[in-house]
Amino acid sequence: MSENKLVEEPRVLAGPQFNSGNFAVAEAALFAGLHGYFGYPITPSTTIMERLASRLPYVEKPGAFLQAEDEIASITAVIGCSWTRNKAMTATSGPGFSLMQEGIGLATFTETPLVVVNVMRGGPSTGLPTFPAQQELMQAHFGSHGDYMVPTFAPNNVQECFDLTIEAFNASEALRTPVFVLTDQILSTLKERFLIPKKENIELVNRSSPDNPHITWKGETISSNLVLPMNCFGEESKAFATGLSHDDTGHVDLSADTYELLMNRLKEKILTYQHLFPKPEKYLIDDADTVVVAYGSTARSAKYAVNSARKKGIKAGLYRLRTIWPFPKDDIIQSLRGKRIIVVEMSSGQLIWPVERYLKQDVEHIGYLRGSVPPPSLIRKKIEGVN
């Protein structure tokens, strides 16, 4: 057996590609330094898993791949992998995302860097497995019990599936937190041209350690008061972590002061650095009277509708969220308050909640539930005030 030597594939496929959103997510994870993928097959996320099953164990600096017995095991094994100071992820879709909520709570509370990609399909329950929806926006924020916040990014094209997956790994490492990437069934299979940059052109962040407590991300030093340096396993540190309330050493402490301090710090660390998260795309909003607010593949249709309306002389614009949580409330208030707002989503009403809450004004809504992206004509008519 010792004569056999594996011929390693390159880990990074630099250069232009023509492929799907799921392919881009998988390659971005390898680019970011993924070491462990643990997952369970579920449509429409499965091709991420298939791609990594055929790549991760065979590339330079190979990593671990496991097809777990369910999504609870997947997310928990991802947490285990991360505690060896290695980057780890899983990808899933609605029903699997529900099963993962338990582990997501554990990951937030033990401050475990990891990435979960949720390729959204129609729910509830088994729902519409092979059709797109956007019904897990609130679950991304409130899905697990207890208060917590997980940074949640939402791409709307294949290039962004790549870029925001890298951003997700960086944010997770910099802030010691799980990070979600919400894509949808359209993006999972949509093939587009995209570019995998050269390694030296992209900043990759690695979590802090007791030896190196001062890491930087996008030029900012991450405060070690907010993000504690991480002791990992196998580093002679007698590390300990628990899902119970704990002090800064990680040990159980159920006292009121400790719990309150911990809960506030966990929230604070995300909010303090939210300006480093992906910024919204603001398309023709400066002079717009009517602005469509959308994210993900819905925003592709919305942009088309905005362009059509502009051709007819209507001052329409698009505000496309790329970071969903924490919600960019200051920016949305500053950019949109007072304008006529139409929220468009493939849900009977999730994105509209934070938009209404922060703008404190009437908001119109298209909640499209037909297992496809709302057609541009529908959005254009709403902009025109026809229906």
Partner: protein, 284 residues
Amino acid sequence: MTLPMFVETHPRDELVRTERLPHIWCPGCGLGNILSGFTQAIINSKGTIPIDNQVVVSGIGCSGRFAGYVKVDSYHTTHGRAIPFATGLKLANKKLNVSVISGDGDLMTIGGNHLIHAARRNINLNVIFVNNFNYGMTGGQFGATTPHGAITTTSAKGNYEHPFSMPYLMASAGASYVARWTTLHLKQLEKSIENAFHHDGFSFIEVMSPCPKGFGRKNNFKTGLDQMRYFESASLKSDNINLKEATASMKLLDNLPVGEFIIDNKPSYLKVKEATILNNGGRT
């Protein structure tokens, strides 16, 4: 000869997070014995497995608190999920010697799916399954190993479900090392844990343990000592037993088979995986 009233340190203090003591376990509970045997096995294995490579993962419940007391890298997961966490650790860093120590309710009842799949994979983990026949921390409810007929707070007139025989189940699922002891068999347990550390594959050790508050006092074992006396009289070393008969009825006249039931040198998960990848898919 006069014995000192107090000792400054215990010989195994280097492996106990002494600042976390006193522990939360009740008088008469067997978990202290298991902590003692486990830490001694770590010391005995020092020559081959550096202490810094030892890891303990626990779930939820009384046994779940094990991770917080043993002074090696350790993690206290959610209920039933110690094995998936341990799997992620082991696959990501093969040099770690990963032990899962948790209770019957945690590992078998809520976490049973993970347990049988880990055994099926013959993955390189050591599982120390503390069986106290009930959910102790929540006040003594029945679980998947509670004997038929036993009184618990959710089976006040007797448990009308049937328990798993853990050695039989684990052997059928594919575990390549299967042993069973009670907390009375401290030396055998210690040796068994050492054997598990050095076994290449999935090791499963069931340790039957007294729980006077949750289980014993309702089921003819008024104190921890009474249940230990039962272990003494009923235990029967039977390494070669047909595992179908490896039951644990906790009834006064029934035997309690203990021993090292299975030592199988079939290739472990990591060995098969490595060979498969090196051979580009060829079967071994």
